[in-house]
């Protein structure tokens, strides 16, 4: 498995660059992943989405339903795509250190 250095730590990553062990994630790691998903600067709005996903994942073990993400952050889908050009599942979740979504996602 490939490895990558993010914010001074080594991570195992899959073919698409998703980190494999979410427990070592911190905001510096998230910020280091961001440019690979077309996010040049992590603003407060970016963090609002990423932190919500992160907290939900830590509580429930999976990303939140997209509608819940929108409702909880107050951003609509258009806004989410503006913030994360590769979308909530592949972009925001990757920056939040979640594993790659599986199944029909």
């Amino acid at each position: 498995m490939a490895q990558i250095e993010l914010a001074g730590k080594m991570f195992d990553i899959d073919e698409d660059g998703f980190i494999q062990d979410a427990s070592d994630w911190d905001e510096n790691v998230g910020a280091a992943i961001a440019p690979t998903e077309g996010v040049t600067e992590m603003t407060e709005e970016h963090w609002k989405v990423v932190n919500y996903i992160r907290d939900y994942y830590l509580e429930f073990g999976v990303a939140p339903m997209v509608r819940k993400l929108c409702k909880s952050t107050g951003f609509d889908m258009k806004k989410i795509y503006e913030l994360f050009p590769s979308g909530p599942a592949k972009g925001a979740c990757k920056i939040a250190g979640l594993p790659k979504p599986t199944g029909c996602v």
Binding site: D16, V62, V66, R67, K68, K71, K90, T102, V105
Partner: protein, 487 residues
């Protein structure tokens, strides 16, 4: 000695195989022998042998199927003609498992299956989306979709399978969450609670997603990805069940709640194990029927194979579309004919349309309340695949192929309708079609069937009127009872 030196160089040559999709454990050596061993086992232990015997004799390679195949129409490559593809497997059968083939090897020196053919198969049999449109035209009755599945099945037994399918199925069959999207049961239930709140906000009605209710009529299995991506489809499903008076008559099982069955695309044994899980959960809850949500292959795999893999009392399988049409026809639910102003078209998911099973039902539903309905051409049994069938939609690394090759004709078809809304009652098709309209900049929105139904569903105003009714009743009671003591 010379040969001992030569051997490693051959091995080095065969190393670093290129695969068109991610593979977890790429097999570098001995692939030919392994393929033949597994093929032989299939012939001994399954019913495929008589079929291959017939197909290998009947196939005339007439290429009439070429006209039907959207992959061939997009690439123009003769290798994408369905009967060319099937013939790769049939030729291995002829060469290695018939007397004629044995003679071919002995007398003509035909070396038989080669490494390059393995490379060709693992690529071309994943070009095919398994839509089975070619089955409509083959004059010899050959089911090329079945040949695709058998080949993929053999390949998967030697670990040649897209990683995306493998890890999803592993989580479904062996993982803690028991579903392809790895959603833990508490997360599914949290999502359902959220959707109940959304429905209450939208309709004012206490529409529920019942969990683990026993002795109900319907145990519900949607494509589990709906719990992440498709709130309107799920809310539409629950709202129809509520409006039709079945709120207390359906349930979601917390131990197993995934309708997805990738086994249908690549492995018969896995297909069976997944269907058995649906049956076991239905039985655990003492449910009477399996109700499948909006998903083509989930519907087909359960409908077609539940009888095969159910050892106990029969459990009927119905699709949510059949349920909803029935509710409309029996007058249990009412849809507002003015709710949908947009032009709407319908995409037939191959897995429910090719056999003719669910072709008329969704159209009857849509035409009952949608004013501006337009058909794609062709449609129904002869529809074109979304381009992401056969599991390919879940394989992100073949995105370019799905957009530029397999989905091209579908994009043209959608554009030609001029429709503003494309209805596709299938999680798989919806993902592919959403990506297609985005890729080709087609100004259309892709939704599920029950997303539209939710918009049009007429529910009686609940809050004030029911309170008024109660007040009225208590007044009547007061009069009848001649008592003024009620508050």
């Amino acid at each position: 000695m010379g040969s001992a030196v030569a051997a490693p160089s051959v091995n080095q040559e065969t190393k670093k195989k290129k695969y068109p999709y991610y593979i977890e454990k790429p097999l570098e050596e001995g692939r030919v022998q392994k393929f033949l061993e597994i093929f032989a086992a299939f012939l001994r232990h399954s019913n495929y042998k008589p079929l291959l015997e017939i197909y290998s004799r009947a196939s005339t390679k007439c290429s009439r199927c070429a006209n039907t195949c959207q992959i061939y129409q997009a690439t123009g490559d003769p290798k994408d003609i369905p009967c060319y593809r099937s013939n790769i497997l049939l030729d291995i059968y002829r060469r290695h498992f018939t007397i004629g083939g044995w003679l071919r090897g002995r007398i003509l020196g035909d070396p038989g299956l080669q490494e390059e053919t393995i490379d060709e198969m693992l690529d071309t049999f994943y070009h095919c989306t398994g839509c089975r449109r070619c089955s409509l035209e083959c004059p010899m009755g050959i089911d090329h979709g079945l040949m695709m599945r058998l080949t993929r099945n053999i390949l998967s037994e030697m670990d040649i399978i897209p990683k995306a399918l493998l890890v999803s199925v592993r989580e479904q069959l062996e993982g803690k969450t028991a579903n392809t999207s790895a959603i833990p049961a508490p997360a599914m239930m949290d999502t359902c609670e959220f959707l109940e709140e959304e429905l209450e906000e939208l309709t004012g009605h206490p529409i529920k997603f019942p969990i683990d209710q026993e002795n109900v009529e319907y145990v519900f299995f949607p494509a589990v990805s709906d719990y992440l991506l498709e709130p309107d489809t799920l809310m539409g499903n629950a709202a129809v069940l509520y409006a039709a008076g079945d709120q207390d008559n359906w349930t979601i099982g917390s131990q197993y709640f995934d309708g997805i069955n990738y086994g249908l695309f690549y492995n018969d044994a896995i297909l069976g194990r997944i269907v058995e899980k649906e049956i076991a959960e239905t039985r655990r809850l003492k449910g009477k029927k399996i109700l499948i949500g909006e998903c083509g292959h989930a519907s087909r795999s359960a409908k077609a194979f539940a009888p095969t893999f159910n050892d106990g009392e029969e459990i009927p399988v119905i699709s949510i579309q059949e349920y909803t049409l029935n509710a409309i026809e029996q007058g249990k639910i009412e849809l507002d004919p003015d709710a949908i102003g947009e032009t709407v078209t319908y995409h037939d998911p191959c897995n429910i349309a090719r056999s003719g099973w669910l072709v008329e039902q969704p159209r009857k539903i849509l035409k009952s309340f949608v004013k501006n309905f337009v058909e794609m051409e062709p449609h129904g049994k002869a529809n074109y695949c979304c381009g992401g069938g056969g599991g390919t939609v879940s394989v992100d690394e073949v995105y370019d192929y799905r957009m530029k090759v397999s989905g091209k004709i579908k994009a043209d078809q959608i554009r030609a309708t001029g429709a503003e809304i494309v209805v596709a009652p299938c999680a798989n098709c919806k993902k592919q079609l959403k990506e297609l309209v985005e890729f080709y900049k087609i100004p259309a929105t892709v939704v599920g069937l029950h997303d539209l139904i939710l918009r049009a569903l007429r529910l009686p105003p609940i809050d004030k009127s029911s309170e008024e009714n109660n007040e009225q009743k208590s007044q009547e009671e007061q009069i009848l009872e001649g008592s003024g003591t009620h508050a």
